[in-house]
């Protein structure tokens, strides 16, 4: 019996029984900016809300933009970054990264983009971030049509799926469209671009050009592992927080962005084909025909205590904050482009002062399965949408 083997063997038995072989804790490998805040006295005069000076940064995001009033400007502001424990932040200054300390004055004048590099505690990983402060567009109090042509899409940073840009005519000023594609990417890494639930199609729209194709897709083995067996194609104004895609899918869809106009009517074109078999969340067959959904919601984005209000998957159609709502009805299966029209019904008058001060948010949302947010629907349901127009009274 060799001592060489016998000694570790005994040590192992010790390990298993006592758990005494736990090594030193590895240093943190993550290097995120988790939160960015600006110190601004009288914030509401430059920004719209007090809370506009602080942003929680999603792990998937590497650029942070703050929005100030169109007629205001900023210079040097004290900046505070909350980074992963133990990580070190550096700021690009005169062509090189120098250590950044919280509270340091950072020049944000002229909408300049400031670059940061965060290095993990273990020194092995780093992330680059961009932070800037941009001006809002000047409000225009005139009747107008916001045309959503779905013409502006491209591949995401990893080249896996389509993303849409806010380059619509008369659009709100920053990236506005979100989809659940980042969530689907987790479950079906092998999917090709055109196999995602939300896909931009270059030709064949109602005017011959691009349109958006939403299709309810099976999420495969990984989807079953987390009891999310299907993913409806969706496209909406807002953000998709992939961090919560598994934990709380309803909270992952954050609807709406501030909007300075009063939508009154939404029109557009669609084609629809229901998938063959409707299933519930457990994957059991249900005798029901699948239907798509489109709605437009206008809501008050701040509560009486000044806290930000966001609508999520579970309250976007039921929240008390909703002031106006339009929802499609009477969808039929059709392979011809068919027009729809829906009026925005208001439960109160909009406050013009609030409207000008970004006090309302608007979302337009469409999905290939009406119960898709609850992972119910019929895989194979296809909903194509093109040339949506949001008509605004002013």
């Amino acid at each position: 019996m060799s001592k060489k083997i016998f000694v570790p063997a005994l040590a192992l038995v010790g390990c298993l029984s006592l758990g005494s072989c736990i090594g030193d804790e590895p240093l943190n490998a993550e290097c995120d900016i988790e939160q960015v805040s600006l110190s601004v006295p009288d914030a509401e005069s430059i920004f719209y809300h007090e809370y506009d000076t602080m942003q929680v940064v999603s792990s998937a995001v590497d650029s942070v933009g703050f929005l100030i009033r169109y007629d205001k400007s900023v210079g040097q502001l004290p900046l505070t970054l909350k980074v992963t424990e133990g990580a070190q932040a550096y700021i690009l200054s005169d062509g090189e990264f120098v250590p950044f300390r919280n509270g340091q004055l950072v020049d944000f004048s002229e909408e300049q983009i400031r670059e940061f590099r965060i290095v993990s505690q273990d020194g092995k990983w780093a992330r680059m971030y961009k932070i800037n402060i941009v001006h809002d567009v000047a409000p225009e109090r005139e009747h107008f049509f916001m045309n959503v042509t779905f013409d502006h899409f491209g591949l995401n940073s990893t080249g896996k799926y389509h993303v849409w840009y806010g380059a619509e005519e008369n659009s709100i000023s920053y990236d506005q469209w979100a989809t659940g594609n980042p969530g689907f990417n987790l479950s079906k890494s092998s999917a090709k671009v055109e196999e995602y639930p939300t896909v931009g199609v270059a030709e064949g729209g109602v005017d011959g050009g691009p349109y958006v194709k939403l299709e309810t897709r099976d999420t495969g083995a990984f989807g079953r592992m987390v009891n999310m067996r299907l993913a409806a194609g969706n496209l909406f104004i807002g953000t998709f927080d992939v961090a919560n895609a598994l934990k709380d899918a309803m909270a992952a869809t954050r609807f709406g962005l501030p909007f300075k106009h009063k939508p009154i009517k939404v029109t557009g074109w669609y084609k629809f084909k229901a998938g063959e078999q409707f299933q519930n969340r457990q994957g059991q067959k249900v005798d029901r025909m699948d239907l798509p959904d489109i709605y437009c919601v206008m809501y008050r984005n701040q509560d009486s205590e000044g806290n930000q209000v966001l609508l999520y998957g579970d309250d976007v159609l039921s929240s008390k904050a909703i002031v106006g709502l339009a929802r499609i009805t009477g969808v039929v299966e059709t392979d011809e482009w068919t027009q729809f029209e829906m009026a925005v019904e208001y439960n109160q008058e909009l406050d013009d002062n609030l409207l000008e001060n970004n006090g309302y948010s608007m979302t337009l949302s469409m999905a290939s399965s009406i119960e898709g947010a609850s992972f119910e629907g019929a895989p194979g349901s296809i909903f194509c949408v093109d040339n949506v127009v949001i008509e605004c009274e002013y």
Binding site: C15, G23, C31
Partner: protein, 260 residues
């Protein structure tokens, strides 16, 4: 008088040597051919463990062997008083349950051609069961009349095996995967909707290792024994990446044997 005393002492020494000689004989093989067999039955405890424990494993909160069993037959042959060999054929069931807190635990899951990989921080629960057959070939050294120690290689094959588990948040509510690298998207996972896994398809259906066995002869036909089986081959198939480190079975057995 002195002579008598000397004679007495000499007789005594002779007698005790004879007694010692008798003990080796009395507790030796029961058959004149110095060969025989043992029928063993034992209770098995143990688990499958990475060796050494990687630093990514921060604590083992639960470790409860489910309690296995083994029954089998050994044949042996002694060459003289001290040395011998044996070969066995044992059937076993082994299982364990562990719960560990991990930090930046590299993992990669592949299901139906889709891969999800990254670094997980949180709680990992594992349940394993293995049914199989093991064949040890041991050299025996009899270091006292009633004590044998045996040592040698073994080879196991599994009829059925499972390696299932789930990952979710730890007691501080921290449970997330960083996709692909520690800078990738952060996906929160909690106990209300854990991510489950089943790696049985990725396990080898054999294992080789070494066995150390102590036998104590309680009665002429009855032994008590304790053994340690230490697997030296990784339990995972080549190319399996879900778990970033090799894991080895390590099982201890205590039991009784009928000796002939």
């Amino acid at each position: 008088m002195k002579k008598i005393a000397f004679l007495f002492l000499a007789c005594f020494a002779l007698l005790s040597a004879t007694a010692q000689e008798d003990k080796w004989k009395e507790w030796g093989p029961t058959s004149p051919s110095q060969a025989g067999f043992l029928v063993r039955a034992g209770y098995t405890l143990g688990g499958t463990t990475p060796l050494p424990l990687p630093d990514e494993i921060r604590s083992i909160n639960e470790f409860s062997p489910k309690g296995g069993a083994t029954v089998g037959l050994d044949v042996y042959k002694m060459f003289g008083r001290r040395w011998g060999i044996s070969a066995g054929w044992h059937f076993f069931y082994e299982g364990f349950h562990t719960g560990a807190d991990v930090k930046n635990y590299k993992m990669s899951l592949t299901q139906e051609g889709n891969t999800m990989s990254g670094y997980f921080t949180g709680t990992d629960i594992t349940n394993t069961d293995m049914w199989g057959m093991t064949m040890p070939v041991l050299i025996t050294f009899r270091f006292a009349p009633r004590w044998n120690v045996s040592f040698g290689p073994y080879f196991s094959t599994y009829f059925k095996r499972s390696f299932k588990g789930e990952v979710y948040d730890n007691k501080d509510g921290v449970g997330y995967l960083r996709v692909d690298t520690p800078t990738g998207e952060k996906i929160n996972i909690d106990h209300s909707n854990p991510a489950t896994y089943d790696f049985h398809d990725d396990m080898r259906n054999w294992n080789g290792g070494i066995e150390l066995l102590f036998d104590w002869k309680v009665a002429r036909h009855f032994n008590a024994f304790a053994s340690l089986d230490w697997g030296l081959s990784n339990i995972w198939d080549k190319g399996f990446e879900a778990v970033d480190f090799r894991m080895y079975p390590l099982y201890a057995t205590v039991g009784v044997a009928y000796r002939y």
